[in-house]
């Protein structure tokens, strides 16, 4: 009975926790960039202010019901994948769906946003989506290959079991240590997955007016912010679970996320922007071969 209550509590509060962590991470990100640019930068919880402001807009325009539904798909898809990611103290749902499920759940937000933006009937948005999908192809391929390697190595596709296996032997059994090639490749992919520079041609403000968000104002933009903040947590946690051995408790997890995000931010803040095709070429020239070599190594190790 106790466990049931605990479960319910987790189910209710897990998204809130993720959102809070996301808020702080987002604020930290902006602060970090500002500092690199020798500015003071905004408050640590600036994203929170933005969300409140956006949700409190008096007038909101929509371009149709798909436009509304797409925002819901956006948020719910991200929450859905959140539930299937095991974190310390909560891995109930990860037994019902493995990593393949998570990868596909992560596609729901992309598709939802794509559909909604399509209905806003703004070419800037469509161009942004077309870029987003092409970039998706760019970074998902090496990322999935690294995962396949890990799954083959450990003989399971369940993320929870991956975490268990990695925690069994301390740092020595972390993915990044056992298979540095895969880890590095996935790191590159993560950079693209989080749309940080140099892979943020999707929202090129001065070129296509923030692309997908062109027609998104008020609460629509607000929901996109919420999704973005939860997504920060989701993507970083996935990487941490795959290659940094998950975490035993939340402090460890947050610390890992913090370090990882700092790494990504520092790349982000010193780079320019790649063109779409250049970005894809990069993804196929550096991370993909790395991952392939790693997987071949694993195969030979097995066979």
């Amino acid at each position: 009975m106790n466990s049931v209550i605990g479960l319910v509590v987790w189910i209710v509060f897990y998204p809130l926790i993720a959102f809070t962590v996301g808020v702080f991470l987002g604020g930290y990100g902006r602060k970090f960039t500002a500092r690199v640019q020798r500015r003071v930068g905004p408050s640590w919880i600036q994203p929170f202010f933005d969300v409140i402001k956006l949700m409190r807009k008096r007038t909101n325009i929509s371009h149709g019901y798909m436009h509304d539904i797409s925002l819901m798909m956006l948020v719910s898809g991200t929450m859905l994948s959140l539930y299937f990611i095991p974190v310390p103290g909560f891995h109930y749902f990860s037994q019902f769906g493995d990593f393949v499920v998570i990868i596909y759940l992560l596609l729901i937000p992309s598709l939802g946003m794509a559909l909604g933006v399509g209905e806003t009937a703004n070419p800037n948005g469509s161009i942004g989506i077309s870029r987003a999908l092409q970039m998706l192809f760019g970074y998902e391929v090496p990322f999935v290959l690294t995962f396949i390697g890990m799954a083959m190595l450990n003989g399971t596709t369940s993320m929870y079991e991956l975490v268990q296996i990695q925690q069994s032997g301390g740092i020595a059994t972390w993915g990044i240590v056992t298979h540095p090639l895969l880890g590095i490749a996935a790191l590159f992919a993560l950079q693209g997955m989080m749309n940080e520079k140099p892979f943020e041609v999707i929202i090129a403000p001065h070129e296509i007016a923030t692309g997908p968000m062109t027609e998104m104002g008020g609460k629509y933009m607000g929901m996109m912010f919420i999704q973005h903040l939860i997504n920060l947590f989701v993507e970083l946690t996935i990487y941490a679970n795959l290659f940094l051995g998950g975490a035993k408790n939340w402090f460890e997890l947050l610390f890992k996320l913090f370090v990882l995000f700092t790494l990504i931010l520092s790349v982000n803040s010193v780079f320019g922007r790649f063109r779409t095709d250049d970005a894809m070429r990069f993804m196929w020239k550096i991370p993909l071969p790395l991952a392939a070599i790693g997987v071949v190594g694993i195969m030979l190790g097995i066979g």
Binding site: M55, M66, M72, L111, G118, G218, Y220, A292, I298
Partner: protein
């Protein structure tokens, strides 16, 4: 009895419709009613035939062999799919066909095609299989001809491939019959088990190559997309849904029943290069290449036709793994693909019915005008992309699992690349048809009528239902696995109970529903929202109206065309095909030149022949 009727009804339908068409060119209503009744009867018979699984009925005597027909688990599975899809196609055509075509013949060939396919899946010996196979190929050819003017030349392309396929199969059957002295599956299996390696490979190639051609496996796939896309749209749906999958049925039967596991073990000997790996590699190429060719298509039907080439790869790979997960995935994927491709193509047909075009560069914004077609297409593409909670996800999940845990990382990667390509191209599909700005000329477009909506609704229900409760179908798939001799899958109503990492679609979809609810609440928390017209739009301060072209759909994935364009628009396979044709033409030219028309050469031939013959006779001693 029902098994028998399953062959008799389509035959009767074919003859009656053909005679009817011979005597009256018009009579749309009669033709439609007759076809509807006929196919309803076929569906009923197919459902009732379940009780007769395992029973054999004997056909006519031929070459001292009694043809055998009968139902097995897998053939009942296919029989249901064939008859069901035909029924939906006919229902759709009740609304879709307008006055002025050759309808009776259209329906006649539809009946004939059904006869061919049902015959193939019901046949229990390779002779019956071959006869029905030939019949099916030819009916397909005539069915394809019912389409546009372009359809005749593309159907010709199909015919060439089909003939080559059936000739190879012919050779295989002659060979096996000579080796085993019988046409029966079991006798042949026992004979094949005794073959040595090279004979075995020969037999396997002779049997499987035609099936791969029919299921449009890379690099034998080039006939399919043009032929299917230039047929009438309902027919395109029907064909790409089930027709090519008969080839996969053949693969399954030949692999598991005719060749049998002992032979397959032999063929799979050798760690890195063996027949299984070859087939899987073919499947991998089939998954990737056609999918990315689809990306560059500017015609909705062509795009989908290329996809039905590509998705075949998943089923092929799944079957070729010969593992519990993989075979289940392959067989289930046949079903799921069938459902959502029909759905998608019906929706495209609904749009074509109103706008008269399937050109992706000239459509747009129709979501306001044809919401139901839009939702149907949405369900379809979510299924096709394999995203939860639609059924396409489950089958793909099974295939991925089998590939990853079976130690084929790069095949798994190919499968995933295929999926990504699918997502890209289906988004292009739905975006260019339904989203973006609505051109003025489509302002008076309406939703289609009841008969065209009904199949769309039904299929939407199936796609979602079998996605949330995959056990409904997977249960039967497990039975098929038992009958094929594969270790069956541990199936629950809600998904799969596998050893390492299970899948429970009920949980996934209910959590999805819950989070959707939360998102909806968040949406409500925000202030009121107002729906505005498409011209109230950000254009950097420009005033929009119908004179301003403010849309983005041409050359949608420019970066890809920039990188891959050339490779996919003029692939080596195409060049090879053209080279082969050129070779045949040169050879025929050479043969023609032998007959110079000059008497002197002819006389020379005669004398030379005499001398040659004497020499040969001398040499023969």
């Amino acid at each position: 009895m029902n098994t028998f009727l399953l062959l008799i009804f389509p035959l009767a339908g074919f003859l009656i419709a053909a005679l009817f068409s011979a005597f009256s060119k018009k009579g749309l209503v009669v033709g439609k009613t007759f076809a509807f009744l006929g196919f309803s009867a076929i569906v009923l018979v197919a459902i009732m035939a379940k009780s007769e699984i395992g029973s054999i009925i004997y056909g006519p005597m031929m070459f001292g062999w009694q043809l055998q027909f009968g139902l097995t688990a897998i053939s009942w599975y296919f029989a249901l799919m064939i008859s069901g899809i035909s029924w939906l196609t006919v229902v759709f055509s009740l609304g879709a066909l307008r006055e002025g075509g050759t309808y009776p013949m259209y329906y006649a060939w539809l009946f004939a095609k059904n006869l061919g396919m049902l015959g193939v899946i019901l046949s229990q010996d390779i002779l019956a299989f071959f006869i029905m196979w030939e019949f099916m190929s030819w009916t397909t050819y005539f069915l394809l001809q019912q389409g546009t003017k372009k359809a005749r030349s593309t159907a010709m392309g199909y015919l060439i491939y089909a003939i080559i396929a059936s000739m190879i199969l012919f050779a295989g059957i002659i060979f096996l019959h000579q080796a085993s002295g019988s046409f029966g599956f079991s006798e042949i299996a026992s004979t094949v088990a005794g073959f040595d390696m090279r004979t075995l490979i020969l037999a396997a190639v002779l049997l499987l190559a035609p099936m791969l051609i029919e299921s449009a496996a890379y690099p034998l796939h080039r006939w399919m997309a043009p032929a299917y896309s230039s047929a009438e749209t309902g027919i395109t749906a029907f064909l790409s849904a089930i027709s090519t999958r008969i080839g996969l049925y053949g693969v399954a039967i030949f692999l598991f029943t005719v060749l049998g596991f002992t032979a397959m073990k032999k063929l799979s000997a050798g760690h890195y290069f063996n027949l299984q790996v070859v087939i899987m590699t073919i499947g991998a190429f089939t998954m990737v290449v056609p999918t990315f060719t689809a990306l560059f298509q500017h015609d909705a039907k062509k795009l989908m036709a290329w996809h039905s080439v590509g998705q075949g790869g998943y089923m092929l790979v799944g079957l070729a793994t010969a593992t519990s997960l993989g075979v289940a995935g392959g067989l289930f994927h046949i079903f799921t693909y069938l459902t959502y491709v029909t759905l998608i193509l019906f929706c495209i047909a609904a749009v074509e019915y109103r706008t008269g075009t399937t050109n992706l560069n000239s459509l747009g914004g129709l979501i306001k005008k044809q919401p139901i077609a839009y939702v149907g297409l949405l369900f379809g593409i979510i299924g096709l992309a394999g995203i939860p909670p639609m059924n396409g996800f489950v089958s793909k999940w099974l295939i991925y699992r089998s590939l990853i845990l079976g130690g084929h990382p790069f095949l798994a990667l190919a499968a995933f690349i295929g999926t990504l390509g699918t997502i890209l191209s289906v988004y292009k599909l739905i975006h260019n048809i339904f989203l973006g700005q609505l051109p003025e000329r489509y302002n008076d477009v309406k939703e289609v009528g009841f008969f065209m909506q009904l199949p769309i609704w039904i299929l939407m229900l199936v796609v979602l239902g079998t996605g949330v409760f995959p056990g409904l179908i997977l249960g039967w798939v497990a039975k098929i696995q038992v009958s094929l001799g594969v270790e069956p899958l541990a199936v629950t109503l809600s998904g799969v109970q596998a050893s390492a990492g299970q899948l429970n679609m009920n949980v996934v979809s209910s959590v999805f529903g819950a989070t959707m609810l939360v998102a909806f609440i968040i949406f409500l928390i925000g202030g009121r929202r107002r729906i505005v017209g498409q011209y109230n739009n950000y254009a950097a301060g420009h005033f929009l109206d119908k004179t301003v072209k403010y849309n983005f759909n041409y050359n949608f994935y420019s970066a890809y065309e920039h990188i891959f364009g050339k490779r996919f628009l003029n692939p080596p396979v195409k060049r090879g095909e053209e080279g082969l044709v050129a070779l045949v033409e040169r050879a025929s030219d050479f043969a023609r030149r032998i007959y110079t028309g000059g008497l002197n050469t002819y006389l020379a031939y005669s004398l030379g022949a005499v001398i040659l013959m004497v020499v040969i006779l001398k040499g023969a001693i």
